[in-house]
Symmetry: C2
Subunit: 216 residues, 2 copies
DNA sequence: CTCGGTTTGTGAACGTTTTCACATGTTTCC
DNA sequence: GGAAACATGTGAAAACGTTCACAAACCGAG
């Protein structure tokens, strides 16, 4: 594989393109220009073209990009043209919300396992999934072919859970706990820090921060 | 005001510093070096020093930074050394989770109003807050002195809600709907796109993407 | 089949952010 | 009180990401 260096920003923008293309397809557009695509996600046309050009030539000069086809291409680049099995740890406030979060399913992420350590929850059925005892993650993760773990447990126990999850061979983790988790180099870890954006708003307001286009 | 140009990344890292400093303070550390602070949030010491230097000289050579004091300074820079009143729109899966999300409260964001358009929810008490009819936002927002709106309604109606919210004078919006909202230039808008990070993981896995330190 | 209008793909220029490297200052220890 | 260790603050250099600008390619009309 070519292993060119793709920037994080580009990948994040690919998510936006994918979203916009899904809408365009639903709206029955056959083609779309970089200009229109840019407008829909508050980016610049040059940016759109440059991003896509890292992965190939998908457009036609004078015409634009074929919507349906480009959408498939982007899905394939992002790796979401398939099903990813996800295990969710911590069926609390955030965790329960994520189980029903339609957007995940729509993009091929299927939550197939729920884990908790609360005896009152274990064994009960939450939106069609039986909550398992986190201590049984060993065989259950393997049985279900889980590849991604979503961590929605309290910050105080997140590291322990992650250590276990890593021990059981999971290589991709999405963390909602407000803590910096340690994982080996070969494990992909992303953090979802919901207060960070609120803090950004707060900063902007108290500083009259003249905002550029948000960096995606 | 000096109006120096502070980058978005720097502000996002300030959130991380704040978090780390809170932990350090709880652990009774008097001072902390840029090295230690960097280690705790997977950054580099130079980055930490540079970021802080944009706002002043908070450290002592040979010693490091005074934990408690720096934490206050950072809070003050971020504008979270005060209470922000927040209204939440959409008491669905995500919305309900956010009401109980401790981290918001801990950083000075208090959800004081809940709005929905579902007659079955309106009037009911959700974690101590009565859910209001979204059509009454006019007087309720003003009465409660709300300054920040959190949007957790379905993507299909998000733009309508936001238009109203903006009409009623709100200048800061945190959006959880997976859609690109249009707001006037003087309104701060940030998006929380939870599937984006999952897509990043997916991309990384299918591409064996050699990951740098995630960009905050 | 040519012309005018479009729009891509992409090196090169530009701007921004990160990292480096070191002078400066503080503390600790003998 | 001097030396060694430590750690900040910051210009300058390097790396990185974005925008520019234009040649190349395609479309549709006449």
């Amino acid at each position: 594989m070519a292993k060119k260096k793709i920037s994080e920003s580009t990948i994040r923008r690919l998510s936006l393109y994918y979203r916009a293309l899904s809408v365009l397809e639903k709206e029955n557009h056959q083609t779309v220009s970089s200009k229109e695509l840019a407008k829909r996600e508050k980016l610049t046309p040059a940016q759109v073209r440059k991003d896509l050009s890292f992965f190939g030539s998908f457009g036609t000069r004078g015409l634009g990009y074929p919507v349906a086809e480009l959408r498939n291409q982007v899905a394939s680049i992002l790796g979401i043209n398939r099903l990813w099995k996800v295990a969710l740890f911590g069926v609390g406030n955030i965790g329960s919300a994520l189980v029903s979060y339609k957007e995940f399913a729509r993009q091929g992420f299927r939550i197939v396992k729920l884990f908790d350590n609360d005896q009152r929850k274990i064994g009960s059925n939450h939106k069609g999934i039986i909550i398992s005892d986190v201590r049984n993650m060993n065989k259950e993760i393997a049985e279900a072919n889980v590849e991604i773990a979503v961590i929605a447990v309290p910050a105080t126990v997140a590291q322990y859970i992650v250590d276990d999850v890593v021990d059981h061979g999971i290589k991709a983790i999405l963390n909602f706990a407000p803590i910096n988790l340690k994982v080996p180099d070969d494990v992909y870890l992303r953090n979802e820090n919901m207060s960070m954006e609120l803090e950004y708003l707060s900063f902007a307001m108290v500083n009259n921060h003249t905002q550029k286009r948000p960096k995606v």
